[in-house]
Amino acid sequence: MTRRSSDDRFFRLATGAVAALVLLIVIGIGFELTRQSTMSIRKFGFSFWTGTTWDPVSGDFGARPFIWGTLYSSVLALLLAAPVALGIAIYISELSPRMLRQPLAYLTELLAAIPSIVYGLWGVFVLVPIIRKLELATPDFLKKIPLFKGPPLGVGMLAAAVILAIMVVPFTSSVAREILKNVPSAQREAAYALGATRWEAIKVAVGYGKSGIIGAIMLGFGRALGETMAVTMVIGNNPQVSASLYAPQYTMSAVIANEFTEAADELYLHALIEIGLLLFIITIGVNMISRLLIWSMKARANRKAISMPMLADEAVPA
């Protein structure tokens, strides 16, 4: 008997030790990125975040244009993608005919599997020419607004935001669909019982899953922040802080992808790795918050689901 329990303990410890590796790797990534960027961290300190010059020749590095480009493109992409993704999730989980439900769900998941480089290729040869035409057709009075100022190159912030939005939609909608599936059906039934229309019942379900849906959208935001290849290929790669949708700009991941193998001296390499570290910290933060939101929503739904029959039992004698 003791032999068995010691065997069990060994099994638990051995598999636990391997599981701990996953934890160690996440910590290891943070540690390694910090270690490899110490030179840049020491030299520039906080001014690395705010500086706008990026000059490898004179060894002066500021990451603000890249941070701006990453945040701006991701926020724009999210503004475009979130309503569409939510609409898809609602349609598939609440509205679509039963026959269409599974195929549509599979389709969105398959589309999420298409690699970034393929989106990029399509972006360069198909999307960018379309956007250039749109930019050339901009009426003059719109060109006075800073948002639409700039050369009609096709490549630029708008192309990056559109391609990111297209890429993020399938992913966000499948997470949001999962959340809606976890909303107890009693919520919708109660709404219908009170005479709600279909849309009003859906609003109740969405409201119940609100924190999870915000989590799903943030998860999509995290994806957009770290997306590299497709953005690198269409954003124009010009480090500048500009509100213009037409201006070619640059992102954190794109500058790493383009310049990493060219970084000849150590300070240059450390500066690029520090950008990677910033990206790591930002995405880890966004991911942690969104996972916690999704978990808390699911836990709440499961707790309610368990307590429902008990409520019903108590209601009977009364």
């Binding site: 996953v22 990534i29 390694e32 993704a85 349609y91 599997a113 770290g226 790493i256 990493f260």
Partner: protein
């Protein structure tokens, strides 16, 4: 009454907008698949699979080295990520409610969201920098790190699909935990675990960013794990941003091959998960 009518109309409009969202998202996605199919099939030929890249400016040639390179990279990644990921998944499925398990599960989920280019920098730091040389091993490890969280989570979920009665039966017969897991539970879930591995491979087969500065690229035939190696994705990238018409053609062919591989793997995985779910339903 008019309030009721108004509510109905609002409901109808909102429902239509949701259906519209589906169409709106499907249009660009259908366009992408259409272009990849049209341009890709037109550009595919035997030479693409069997020949090496030609020197700059010479038309023709293929991506034989990149196809083999991608297979080698995926092989290294799987060799490293599958055993660790499976054992980790087993631990999470066997001890689901401990604090340690929740922390590891959370770490795996968060790791899944770390941008692939950041994982590439990590692999560069631990494999490339010490020996000062890009290598297939470094690329394989970068891909393996990206595979790991997916293998962990799918293994865990699929082990949980195994009916509790099987585990309880094995333990009741006096088997130790380890014995119950490796002789009863894992074999029962094996098709599912293989599926999880397929999904993970499909996800990393299309990765480009982490390979740019780990396995780098190589215009020559190489199967040496200590040397830079070509891969389909990096090759497609470098051809896509080149100014040559013939290279663009080959980039489309490469993209088509990638999409075909990834969609086939995903569909296979989907079908076998469905089979497994049916098998375990009482």
């Amino acid at each position: 009454m008019s309030v009721m009518v108004r509510r109905r109309i609002v409901s109808r409009i909102a429902e239509t907008l949701c259906a519209g969202a589906v169409l709106l998202a499907l249009v660009p996605l259908a366009l992408i698949l259409f272009y990849v199919l049209r341009q890709g099939i037109g550009a595919l030929n035997i030479a693409f699979f069997t020949e090496m890249p030609k020197p700059v400016g010479e038309p023709g040639g293929g991506m034989a080295n990149a196809i083999v390179g991608t297979l080698i990279l995926i092989g290294i990644a799987a060799l490293f990520a599958v055993p660790i990921g499976c054992v980790c998944g087993i631990h999470l499925a066997e001890y689901p409610d401990t604090k340690f398990s929740s922390v590891v599960r959370f770490a795996a989920d968060v790791m899944n969201g770390v941008p692939s280019i950041v994982v590439g920098i990590f692999a560069y730091g631990i494999v490339v920098l010490p020996v000062k040389r890009f290598s297939a091993i470094a690329g394989g490890i970068a891909l393996g790190l990206l595979m790991l969280p997916i293998v962990v989570r799918t293994t865990e979920e699929l082990l949980r699909l195994v009916p509790a009665g099987l585990r309880e039966g094995a333990l009741a017969l006096g088997a130790t935990r380890g014995r119950a897991v490796f002789t009863v539970i894992v074999p029962a879930a094996l098709p599912g675990i293989l599926t999880g591995i397929l999904v993970a491979i499909a996800r990393v087969a299309g990765e480009t960013a982490p390979l740019l500065f780990t396995s780098f690229n190589n215009r020559f035939w190489s199967t040496n794990l200590g040397q830079p190696i070509a891969s389909l994705t990096v090759q497609v990238f470098s051809y896509a941003i080149s100014p040559y018409e013939d290279w663009h053609r080959q980039a489309w062919a490469g993209a088509f091959l990638l999409v075909a591989i990834i969609l086939t793997l995903s569909i296979l995985a989907r079908l076998s998960v469905r089979g497994l779910e049916k098998m375990n339903r009482p």
